[in-house]
């Protein structure tokens, strides 16, 4: 049964309505409502274990919601998973790489699986600064290098909805700049993003707004929700360059 998305849903990159999820008898999400316009960059905050990652996995079709509905560009994550997967790029702490394949082989595999067998793999590797290890196996890579390789996979894909789960972990300053330039590039092309963060500083100048998940629901953040030197939501939603990183 394919449920038709409501009309306004079709304009939205992401439309989550009452998304709930339990594990066993424990409810992690209790009805998340979140609408993201195409071209909008949204930060998602919350304590450890509040369900941020669970929500992201539901949007990426890796988990089914226990209740509620969720649409990505009008495609229902429960019933039209394949359409959703054409739109979303998911980047999490899980590298999703094969240790016994080289960097280039991993990307070539990803490109074929994504349906872009002719993608320019060497350009992607160069962009993330891994040209020097193109033919080395991923097994020997540091966590940061694996992150960069995963990012290269996203660069091949150029998704319309970017789901980033703590994307700056294990990245050095150059890596953070790389990530931000990629996010801005997709944004300029009309893409949307949901970025899960525990630290807002690296994402300064990237996000249009931030929301917080508390008690399994989405809330507008209060000033106290940001741990960094009393930084307010206004401070971190300034346009790029207005609040530079020291």
């Amino acid at each position: 049964m394919t449920s038709a998305a409501p009309l306004q849903t079709r304009q939205l990159a992401l439309d989550a309505r009452g998304v709930a999820r339990r594990f066993g008898a424990r409810w992690i999400l209790r009805g998340v409502n979140l609408q993201v316009q195409a071209g909008e960059m949204v930060g998602l905050l919350g304590h450890n274990g509040c369900g941020k990652s669970t929500f992201m996995r539901i949007v990426a079709t890796l988990l089914k919601p226990s209740a509620g509905d969720c649409f990505v560009y009008g495609a229902n994550v429960k019933t039209e998973g394949d359409d959703v997967r054409h739109h979303v790029g998911f980047f999490s702490h899980i590298p999703g790489l094969y240790d016994d394949l080289t960097a280039r082989e991993n990307l070539a595999f990803a490109a074929t699986m994504l349906g872009f067998p002719a993608a320019d793999i060497d350009a992607a590797l160069e962009r993330v600064g891994l040209t020097h290890v193109t033919h080395e196996r991923v097994r020997g890579f540091s966590a940061g290098m694996q992150r960069r390789l995963s990012l290269a996979r996203l660069i091949l894909q150029r998704p319309r909805l970017l789901l980033l789960d703590e994307p700056y972990n294990n990245l050095d300053v150059a890596g953070i700049a790389l990530m931000n330039s990629f996010i801005r590039e997709l944004n300029a092309a009309g893409g949307a993003a949901v970025v899960v963060l525990h630290d807002l500083v690296p994402a300064q100048g990237v996000l249009d707004r931030t929301v917080i998940i508390r008690d399994g629901r989405v809330h507008e953040p209060r000033p106290g929700d940001f741990g960094h030197d009393g930084a307010s939501p206004q401070a971190i939603t300034l346009p790029a360059g207005a609040a530079g990183i020291s």
Partner: protein, 228 residues
């Protein structure tokens, strides 16, 4: 177009599974060694009587292939679970059955290679004269491998991601495989003993029919077990 993409995906998965397997040679070597060890144990259990060994050869060969093969099925998903690759695999667009087809073909190649070695050793150990039409024997055994691998690849998709995966896979798989195993054992036995009663053809066609049924069923059902 979409179909051609899926064909490319299947090829990529087969290539990826076999490449990772080849680079960690330990996997193939230990599975083959296990198969040979099981044959030796069967030989010891059945005693030194040459005729008894020859009579039991077909059954022992298949059980050795089965027990060793089971390791391969869980391994095939272990590659995906290390480093969360299965998650990445599920995030790619495309038909789910393509994932199954890729894993199935890779496992087929893996188990077939293992089978050739184990059978060669087994024929020597059990004192069976290598039949003149050994290509037919191999073909017949491949039919058995298809059934074992189809069900094994399917059930391992669940067992490898559950608690108690070591016990769950054999518990689910072995009873389901009994028809395939019976047909494969009978056909092999008849082949090795010269098929005096002209029953070989029946068992081979039965085996082929089982393969078709289980291939269709597992292809249709895979989507439901891999997505959750």
């Amino acid at each position: 177009m979409a179909f051609r993409d899926d064909m490319r995906r299947i090829r990529a998965i087969v290539w990826k599974d076999l490449t990772t397997e080849r680079r960690s040679k330990a996997g193939f070597n230990s599975v083959v060694s296990l198969g040979v060890t099981i044959l030796v144990l069967f030989g010891l259990a059945l005693g030194p009587d040459a005729q008894a060994l020859r009579d039991a050869a077909a059954g022992a060969l298949w059980l050795a292939v089965l027990f060793a093969g089971v390791l391969a099925f869980n391994r095939s998903y272990q590659v995906e679970l290390d480093g969360g690759a299965l998650e990445a695999l599920l995030l790619y667009p495309g038909a789910r059955w393509a994932i199954f087809a890729g894993k199935l073909i890779a496992n087929l190649i893996f188990v077939s290679l293992m089978l050739v070695i184990v059978v060669a050793v087994g024929l020597v150990l059990f004192g069976v004269r290598v039949p003149a039409q050994w290509p037919s024997l191999l073909g017949l055994m491949m039919l058995g491998v298809v059934g074992i691998v189809a069900l094994g690849t399917f059930y391992a998709a669940m067992s490898s991601r559950s608690r108690a995966r070591e016990v769950l896979l054999p518990l689910l798989l072995y009873p389901m495989l009994i028809p395939v195993l019976l047909a494969a054992m009978m056909a092999t036995k008849l082949f090795l003993s010269g098929d005096l009663m002209n029953e070989l053809g029946t068992w081979v066609s039965l085996l082929g029919a089982f393969d078709v049924i289980f291939l269709v069923a597992t292809f249709l059902a895979f989507e439901y077990v891999i997505e959750v």
